[in-house]
Symmetry: C2
Subunit: 213 residues, 2 copies
DNA sequence: TCAAAAGTGTTAATAGTACACCCATGA
DNA sequence: TCATGGGTGTACTATTAACACTTTTGA
């Protein structure tokens, strides 16, 4: 028997910051909140933790329901627990961030949920404390990309070095010297040339690379 | 009105990893769990989130109740949400780590709670997932001390450079060259000499430093 | 022929690492 | 006088930052 009876219980939600890379910018997937309070306001993708579901599993389920994607890079960011953060009822939210390839997700599902991509550096006002969540997650992936090849989750399977550099620049919010970038990335040994040439993005054509497994 | 009615609610606990620096080692404050399940097992300092209390405030309260300390360096680590993590009932735990000066805390309170310091690198088996929590927090402060002067929270107001170095070594788990350490720390501009001399720790006497504000 | 993106090395500055001896003191 | 911890500088290595021109091609 437990001695917990006298303690209060809380709704626990999960909010997901789903990052994608599109048009040379880091984007976040948002939608219109479908229920009160804040119905119609812009919101992160979220949902409630279920009875026999771990919080991690809950995050995976919510991501799958909105994007059709499984096996996605997703990490916990933090719990948000201010008393009045949700104006309707007390809800403690555990926040995750995910990195997805925008070419892979299920656009039909996204349409059903009214989901859309917005530029992370030009975020509209989101409901509750969701803007804070995005800022914190944005900072976090900036730190992580310095040490880990998380770009593999955001890019198509084959990509040019210019595109990879643009990704780094948009995540880090800085411009990077092309030669230094190429040297640094080749020293890291994350990626390999495929021999294929991309003719879309330039007249001359650029070598297509891919991440090693 | 909210649409949340149909969702389940959960107990939400807070667990605190309270780090201190004592006898040249990084320590964690633990105690014997005073209630079932796991009564008598070794446990982190914890408690339950209350109705009109933010999760952060809850962590502060719990820390104060066990140590008598307020205004302590404390950060959220993560939420732990596995379904079976607590064998009694479903409890989602939000974990914080705190750094305190072992000379300041209320030892009477600690005695009441059966609290004791254990070496972080020689942890006994703790209940539930508490060992995981400590490992994660230990790794976290290792990263943070590389960039932030968090040592100020663990040391007495005045300290020798040798003591500061021992602190860094015990947090980082490495030995550091004395000359390199002193140069690095003086370049960081965190600390200043007070002109006072400590005669306790050596015959010659060592300059006492303090952290700048 | 020219606009647009691809590709390519060198140098300088900075940060980090390795390493050994003398000093002051109390017991 | 000696054992103990305090205090100091230099040379080497690795990492990071700054910087500009040629190539290829389609329009």
């Amino acid at each position: 028997m437990t001695a917990y009876k006298s303690y209060p219980k809380f709704f626990v939600s999960v909010d997901c910051i789903i990052f994608g890379f599109k048009d040379g910018c880091l984007k976040v997937l948002i939608h219109q909140r479908p229920y009160e309070p804040g119905m119609g306001e812009l919101s992160l993708i979220g949902g409630f933790v279920q009875k026999n579901e771990s919080v991690d599993a809950s995050a995976k389920r919510i991501l799958r329901d909105f994007t059709g994607l499984d096996n996605v890079y997703m990490q916990q960011l933090a719990a948000f627990g201010e008393v009045e953060r949700d104006p309707g009822e007390r809800v403690i939210s555990v926040v995750y961030y995910a990195l997805i390839n925008v070419d892979n997700y299920d656009t039909q599902l996204a349409e059903i949920h009214n989901a859309k991509w917005v530029d992370v550096d030009d975020l509209p006002a989101l409901c509750f404390d969701h803007n804070d969540m995005v800022q914190k997650a944005r900072h976090m992936i900036g730190e992580i990309i310095k040490n880990e090849p998380i770009g593999s989750n955001l890019l198509p399977r084959y990509f040019t070095l210019s595109l990879l550099q643009t990704l780094y620049e948009s995540i880090l919010g800085t411009s990077i010297d092309k030669r230094n970038f190429r040297r640094a990335i080749s020293e890291k040994d994350y990626i390999q040339a495929t021999g294929m040439i991309d003719k879309e993005s330039s007249r001359r054509g650029a070598t297509l690379y891919r991440f090693k497994k």
